[in-house]
């Protein structure tokens, strides 16, 4: 594999960029692996990368039923931030943000992290009090957060309607300046390329149809490309978490729902960072290409159809135009949806399962893109040691029976 550098770029440009090697191989699956990872999204690929790079487990396959990054990793609105509420979450998500801050150089792949800030808006005195409490909690945990006045918000976001006549007048807000966006495909491709170069087999168009269990231990997976043996299997399949759990004989506290996003035609730079209104359920950023990227709440009934329905699309657009009236002039270019796996407390389920050798990374819901580096790192540790990593102990599946839920519904920012 070619290392990306200025020198390489110069060399290849002399030859008309005709000789770049593929970024990862497309191997035939072997009969046996030490670890099989089901799902070639960011979580699965990052887990494979850290297994090989940090924990010395190199005989690893990632099985993806479609193309890598074709699930929620390639469909999300790319917000990265660590402004959750409870210490369990902030510790985990801040670890992730720190890994993101160094990810481009670690992977030798530009993930285009752009920390323009994550602004949360308040629309009433009560919202202001809640944001004071939220941002104070973050500061106490050592995570950056600052309250903003209307004037400060306007300076950063001149197109935002901060007038008293706005449909939902803005009272102020708070910002996590280290929050921002990263390029989603690059995160999947960067981890894939780095994992592949360490010997991980990435096998696309390979759908897992059953998980084999003998006694209470995992022994491999059946796929459309034959049976693959492995004593350790992890699944990171987002909206399909319940389907994989059922193959292993247990059920999970998860509902699969579509979450939509859309982009406008590209325009000149006009807004910085990400702006979210938890009241009207919309959030907005501008991509490097200039498109206005809009996200909202999840569709309100269970679905595995990656389309998204019209009522929620309309609500999201209405909410956005209430915040940014001038965007009414923009044409929407594309709309899409991914199937998100939502838990009762809006926190992930990651770690060991009741089946020996079977690991789960799911329940990421509307917020698992920001968690890709930390999810991969901690799950890889957990698989390699068969012991949960400290940071994910609170997120194990047995928290529901213990009653120790970590309710981050509000920190998710939008309805789901």
């Amino acid at each position: 594999m070619d290392k990306f550098s200025l020198l390489q770029l110069a060399k290849h440009s002399l030859k008309g960029h005709k000789n770049w090697s593929p970024q990862w191989r497309s191997p035939e699956p072997k009969k046996t692996y030490d670890v099989v990872i089901v799902g070639g999204g960011g979580q699965g690929l990052a887990t494979a990368y850290y297994l090989a790079s940090k924990y010395g487990v190199k005989n690893v396959a990632v099985l993806e039923k479609g193309w890598i990054g074709g699930g929620n990793t390639g469909r999300n609105t790319t917000v990265v931030r660590s402004n959750y509420f409870y210490p369990e979450s902030t510790n985990f998500f801040d670890h992730s943000l720190k890994l993101y801050e160094n990810l481009s150089s670690e992977l030798n792949y530009n993930v285009m992290l752009s920390q323009g800030g994550m602004t949360v808006l308040a629309h009433s005195r009560h919202d202001m009090e809640m944001l004071e409490r939220w941002s104070n909690s973050l500061q106490l945990q050592g995570v950056d957060a600052e309250m903003l006045s209307c004037a400060e918000i306007e300076k950063q976001n001149p197109l935002l309607d901060i007038s008293k006549n706005a449909r939902f007048p803005i009272w102020g807000g708070y910002i996590q300046r280290r929050g921002g966006v990263a390029r989603h495909d690059a995160v999947a491709w960067g981890y894939a390329r780095a994992a592949d170069s360490l010997g991980v087999d990435i096998i696309q168009n390979c759908e897992v149809t059953d998980i084999q269990i003998s006694g209470n231990s995992v022994s491999g997976v059946s796929t459309n490309q034959g049976f693959i043996r492995a004593d350790k299997v992890a699944f990171a399949v987002a909206g399909h978490t319940s389907v994989l759990a059922e193959m292993a004989g247990f059920s999970v506290p998860i509902v699969s729902q579509p979450l939509q996003a859309m982009v406008s035609e590209p325009i000149k730079p006009c807004l910085e960072g990400v702006v979210v209104s938890p009241l009207v359920h919309a959030y907005v950023s501008q991509s490097d290409r200039g498109e206005i990227l809009i996200g909202g709440g999840a569709d309100r009934y269970p679905s595995y159809g990656q389309r998204g329905n019209l009522p929620v699309l309309e609500e999201t657009v209405t909410a956005t135009l209430g915040l940014y009236p001038s965007f009414s002039r923009l044409k929407l270019m594309r709309q899409w949806a991914g199937i998100v796996d939502i838990t009762p407390d809006s926190s992930p389920i990651i770690g060991k399962t009741s089946v020996t050798g079977l690991y789960i990374s799911g329940g990421w819901g509307t917020g698992g893109f920001k968690a890709i580096p930390a999810g991969g790192d901690t799950l890889a540790y957990t698989i390699a040691h068969d012991q949960p990593h400290e940071l994910i102990k609170p997120f194990s599946i047995d928290r529901f029976a213990k009653g120790s839920l970590i309710d981050e519904g509000a920190a998710a920012g939008v309805a789901h």
Partner: protein, 104 residues
């Protein structure tokens, strides 16, 4: 956009309705006798079927009545609407045949 045939009001747009989640979940007779696992299973776990799911719906912005629905979670096709307290008949067909028909 789903068009839902409320048994009481007739066909209306989905915006008038709320999905109340999985149908036919019965509260255990003796919660005190259950283990923590069993109780949390009742409280939190979901079937979350990829295929035909039996759900409760309410015509919130209409007659406010509850009813049950058998709906395919990929195609969103509504296969049957049936009263609370009863089970779907799938119009006399067995479920496998219904699945095949929806997927065809």
């Amino acid at each position: 956009m789903l068009r839902i045939n409320c048994p009481f009001c007739g066909i209306r747009d989905e915006e008038e309705f709320d999905c109340g989640g999985e149908a036919h979940v019965t509260r255990p007779e003796n919660p005190a006798n259950l283990s923590d696992d069993e109780w949390s299973h009742y409280l939190f776990n979901k079937v979350n079927t990829k295929g035909i799911l039996l759900e409760r719906w309410r015509h919130t912005y209409g007659c406010r009545q509850w009813f049950n629905m058998a709906r395919h979670t990929v195609s969103h096709e509504i296969i049957e609407i049936y009263p609370m307290g009863s089970f779907p008949s799938f119009n006399g067909m067995n479920v496998e045949n219904v699945v095949k028909e929806v997927e065809a």
